[in-house]
Amino acid sequence: MNLDTILQQIFNGLQLGSIYALIALGYTMVYGIIRLINFAHGDFYMIGAYASYGLFSAIGATLFFGLPANQATIIMFIISILGSMAAGGAIAIIANQFAYKPLRNKPRLSALITAMGVSMFLEYFFSALPVIGPSYRGFPEIIKKQLFPIGNAVISNYFLIDVGVAVSLMILLTLIVKYTKIGKAMRAVSLDKDAAKLMGINIESVITVTFLIGGAFAGVAGLLAGLTYPRIYPYMGILPGLKAFVAAVLGGIGNIPGAVLGSYIMGIAETFATAINSLIGEGIAFAILIIVLLVRPQGLLGEKIADKV
């Protein structure tokens, strides 16, 4: 593997890592607040991809007929970002309201099993719906792909879009969590639920907002993934969902910068492993995970929590 290949793989890894990071953030936020591994999170990503696909097919060419092509593309892209966010966020809130909320005071594992059920339901429901169906669909190339050479490696404008959208959303999230009232409430709930309740924080609305943000991020990730790897299908969320979860654990679950760090490590590790052998690429994520959990179970940036007796 020469230097150019290494550089190229790092670019590919960053691109993949950006998508993982957007999914992982939702995982880690939901876990931080209600200690639930929301297995259905990967499916929010799938729904985001389908929502933007639907938007493209429905209004793609007709609505902005009068405008010049590049302006229409930008408007279309912004609409699809908002549409995928709305779809992902809406489905996350619905899932929370109907499936997770009634189990709040039950043993945690039952919510986990329910999450698996929600995940299965969304996957099979989407593949059963006649309008969507189980088959693969090609994602429309709304933005023309352009390649820019850097040395002997190339990056595409998709790379810039993926990383750009992911990083700006991460900054937005950091600002929300750090400086807004709801962000403060989220931090309080994740620190101590009961104390937060005593301080007059409405826990349920904080949880709803968390699901909304997480779902919206996953929705955008679905759009970006559809754009970058132009093939969507109802089960597309399973593996990225799992890997993003692993990334969140790697960074220290419940920890927002950790999720981003873990995702980029994961993306780069996966592209390098895939460059060696495509099948090793599939397993590397879990191998990393097991090693990290054995050596440092709280993750890279997580804090060790002592057992309370």
Partner: protein
């Protein structure tokens, strides 16, 4: 007039609930064989019963880890995959035996045990993280473990790689699977109600407290993984010789979830719950397949097979929402409870 020796045998062996259970199971077995012989139960139904019985083995063994010891393992199919590939390699690739003589069946049983032992060794290895990790983290490690097994199998060309291992002889007949399923139930039931079983239960209830009263929690957690993995390996071997193919996707985590659903729907810590759920869910799944097919014919409109899984997953969600503890909770049907337990009630 009582004859002491007959009285002794009567009380110690015949009146025992275990005897009733074994005799009842054997009667059911002979009844099904008889019905099969007179074509009242066709090959399709027998196949569903066989699959259900394999799921009984897998669910009961997972229940030992998850339900009784309170660990959270969600990669159970990884163990089954190892058992399936080991036993299928022995019978199909190395010895190339066919189900035509008694000695070949004997070799088959030995290959199952070999598969179980290899799976148990892996269970021993995977048991180690359980010493350091709890709950969710352990769940993810076991999930990752199952996926790694699948990736490794995908990469071994000798066992077919991504094509899968084809042409496995059909050794898993109804009586063999039935007897092994019953043996699994009896062995796990005996473990649960033994001194060791008490230790497992105490780990589930409170690990720190059980350590304080002098239970070697390390040993027992690994023990439950080893035993659970052993039976999962045997179940996997039976499955491979039943469907006559071993394929990496057959043991993907979706199937691990199915086993997990059976354990939870039946009730954590209830062997009979797992048995009922394994049968109920397998039959429900097949029933939905038939039902949707006839609905398609009736409506002159194809109702996709995916709706079956939609209903299945909705059912799971509703069980969790409205009967969180599962169908049986922690209860057990009476024939599986030793008489000595009655004092506690």
């Amino acid at each position: 007039m009582k004859i002491p020796i007959i009285d002794f045998i009567y009380k110690k062996f015949i009146k025992r609930r275990m005897t009733i259970f074994i005799v009842g199971a054997l009667l059911v077995m002979f009844l099904i064989i008889l019905l099969q012989k007179y074509n009242i139960l066709n090959a399709y139904i027998i196949q569903i019963i066989n699959v259900s019985l394999v799921y009984v083995i897998l669910a009961v063994s997972l229940n030992l880890i998850n339900g009784f010891t309170g660990q959270f393992s969600i990669g159970h199919m990884g163990f089954a995959a190892v058992g399936a590939y080991v036993s299928a390699t022995i019978t199909t690739l190395v010895l190339k035996i066919t189900p035509n003589s008694f000695s070949h069946y004997l070799i088959f049983i030995l290959s199952l045990i070999a598969g179980g032992i290899v799976a148990a060794i892996l269970g021993f290895i995977i048991g180690f993280p359980s010493l350091r990790l709890k709950g969710d983290y352990l769940a993810i490690v076991t999930l990752g473990f199952g996926e790694i097994i699948r990736t490794i199998l995908n990469n071994i060309d000798y066992v077919g790689g991504p094509r899968g291992l084809l042409g496995i002889p059909k050794f898993s007949t109804f009586p063999i699977i039935f007897v092994i399923a019953i043996l699994t139930i009896i062995i796990i039931r005996n473990i649960v109600y033994s001194t060791h079983g008490r230790a497992l239960l105490s780990i589930r209830e409170n690990e720190v407290a059980s350590e304080l009263v002098g239970i070697n929690t390390t040993k027992y957690k690994i023990l439950s993984f080893v035993i659970g993995a052993f039976f999962a390996g045997i179940g996997g071997g039976l499955l491979a010789h039943l469907v006559q193919i071993a394929h990496p996707t057959q043991f993907g985590f979706m199937y691990s979830f199915l086993i997990l659903i059976m354990v939870y729907a039946g009730g954590m810590g209830s062997i009979s719950g797992s048995v009922i759920a394994a049968f109920g869910l397998t039959f429900l799944s097949e029933g939905l397949r038939v039902g949707l097919y006839s609905l398609s014919n009736l409506l002159k409109f194809t109702v996709g097979d995916q709706w079956r899984m939609v209903i299945y997953s909705l059912l799971l969600i509703f069980i969790m929402l409205f009967k969180t503890e599962g169908l049986m909770g922690m209860k057990e049907i009476k024939v599986l409870i030793p008489e000595e337990e009655d004092i506690h009630e």
